[in-house]
Symmetry: C2
Subunit: 352 residues, 2 copies
């Protein structure tokens, strides 16, 4: 097919994207600020440079036909500069929205899509007023750079405000009302240059200490709720004019209401099961969208349960290796810090 793909970021999502590209014979060039990244071990080439290095941008643009990204916190200025040189998919507008919890929620609400109630918080005074409005318990979240529960703290009563404000470092935030959800579910939608959307089955996620631990695919939810989640994913992707993947995390309330929690314009941890349970994985779907190949069929051939391997759990996979129906994935990270995502296991079962 002759294309070469650039990937911004060198983590496991970039690694698995490069491996999916390799299946299609598409070489990847990874741009990452970090030496010896998981993605660079499997990519044809790596550029190690900070995001503001305009020469690195020129070198990358000269080598590839299109660029995608494995995390949404690449600085917008760097993405915009790169966009002058080569197609970046998804584009800067998608990142802008996904990088900022306030824009993200506003964007969803403007489309008539529900989220948890929230207020913008720029000062301790505003935090106090927001808590009065929303009531407790509530979660104070930094608008930017939050992941795996980082930059978040809980307020149970108004007296918690000063400490919470200190904990998040006094950065621009939102205060989000606590939603008594029954399940957390997510959906991943691929969207091509022609606007065609293909959604994977909705999955159900279980977190521990704010880190994804376990995903079940498909989610044990009604077909109507599943369709609605897929439809919301496609609507958001289309409104963002996104080319690539959009992952949408939802709270599912007891009455069947779906509220968008977060969006991510990239492959998502909750979609790792698609590598082993679908003919076209989320990573391959991303590659296809970005280099303008036809999107693949997102149907699953098996049901799946995915478990993240955190910290030193990856050194204990020996038993899993010989379990029937069990697929083991490790990311080639040398240092097993506590809570760090080192790999995952997918257990396949006959399709229901």
């Amino acid at each position: 097919m002759g294309a070469t793909l650039g990937i911004l970021g060198g983590g496991q999502l970039g690694r698995m994207t490069a491996m999916a590209a390799a299946r299609l014979g598409i070489p990847c060039v990874v741009w990452t600020p970090d030496a010896d990244s998981p993605a660079s071990q499997v990519a044809a080439e790596t550029i190690v440079a900070p995001w503001n290095d305009s020469q690195a941008a020129a070198v990358l643009a000269a080598k590839v036909d299109a660029v995608t990204l494995e995390f949404e916190n690449v600085p917008l200025d760097a993405v915009r500069a790169l966009t002058e040189l080569v197609a970046v998919r998804p584009g800067a507008r998608c990142l802008e929205v996904a990088q900022d919890r306030l824009l993200e929620k506003t964007f969803a609400n403007d489309l008539g899509i529900a989220t948890a109630p929230y207020r913008q918080v720029g000062s301790l005074d505003e935090l106090g007023r927001a808590f009065q409005d929303i009531g407790g318990p509530a979660i104070l979240k930094s608008r930017r750079l939050g992941y795996d529960g980082k930059g978040q703290t809980r307020l149970n009563q108004s007296g918690d405000a000063p400490l919470a404000w200190e904990e998040v470092g006094g950065v621009p935030c939102i205060l989000e009302g606590f939603v008594p959800f029954e399940k957390e579910v997510s959906v991943i939608v691929g969207r091509g240059l022609d606007g065609a959307c293909r959604a994977y089955d909705v999955m159900e996620n279980h977190h521990e200490n704010h880190i994804l631990r376990r995903t079940l695919a498909p989610a044990a939810i009604s077909p109507a709720v599943a369709s609605q989640a897929q439809e919301i994913g496609a609507r958001l992707a289309s409104a963002l004019d996104l080319v690539g993947l959009l992952a949408v995390e939802f709270f599912l309330l007891e009455d069947g209401t779906l509220m968008v929690n977060e969006i991510a314009p990239r492959p998502h941890n909750s979609g790792h099961w698609t590598i082993d349970a679908c003919t076209v994985s989320q990573f391959e779907q991303l590659v296809r969208a970005v280099v303008d190949l036809p999107l693949g069929d997102p149907q699953r051939h098996s049901d799946a349960e995915m478990l993240n391997l955190l910290g030193n759990e990856a050194s204990m996979v020996s038993d899993s290796l010989s379990q029937p129906g069990t697929c083991v994935h490790l990311y080639g990270k040398s240092e097993a810090r506590a809570g760090r995502k080192m790999g995952h296991i997918t257990m396949l079962r006959p399709r229901t």
Copy 2:
């Protein structure tokens, strides 16, 4: 798991082995005489050097924990020299047998395993006598370096001998009696350092112009014949004390007799379906065996049909990309020569 794997050879089998190793977080160093090989595009590192380069052997041995190979025609001297420095799996004895059609057939027969009738042929005179013994039609095959029908020619009558002998270049040969087979089937067996064998389901192969075109898994054969093929595969692997994979191609006669046609101590084209239809592919099974991890479950979760993409067929996969249940693999080869294996497609169906 911390291991690093060396791979002798840089073709598509090495490429898919390196990709399977990457799933397990295992980096690969490829040794190949060819610059810009398919495997080098996805390996952590490549050594480009001829097989007799003893310095390259030392460099590879210093970087890896074990070495495997993606084709069996690495010169034995090179393999033996490397074995002094690092574990090579499968070992030189396996290659010695697999490199030589005469040794291969003798080895099988000595274990009581049937092959087509054959005679050793070292001269035109011997060819004449062999044809008298075996009768026509018969196939003259060079003992060494034959693949995809290369180094083979057919004799229908004794008068064909001189031309046939000229066609194979007068090299040491065997003359093989033509077997009126009903099907060609194959099996792939993984064997660990501890001697444990795990066989994949037997598959059925269809060739065109001596090149594999299509594989069906499982083969449409009786369970008894399938078990027997798996048992023969395990018996051959054990007798060779092989660590890694053994692929065995059989002729299946109408009366249910299995005759070994060829063996290959490496991943095999007829096993590519295992990437998409099994939790542990033939390539991952090889990696596990060679770096001494537990072998995986070889059960298929889906039935599969594999089609090779030859020559410029790879440029016409656009339709396949959007077909449900269809997995497309391309090998990153730049030049699409006629008959060259450029990629393959696997179509999955619910398990029968």
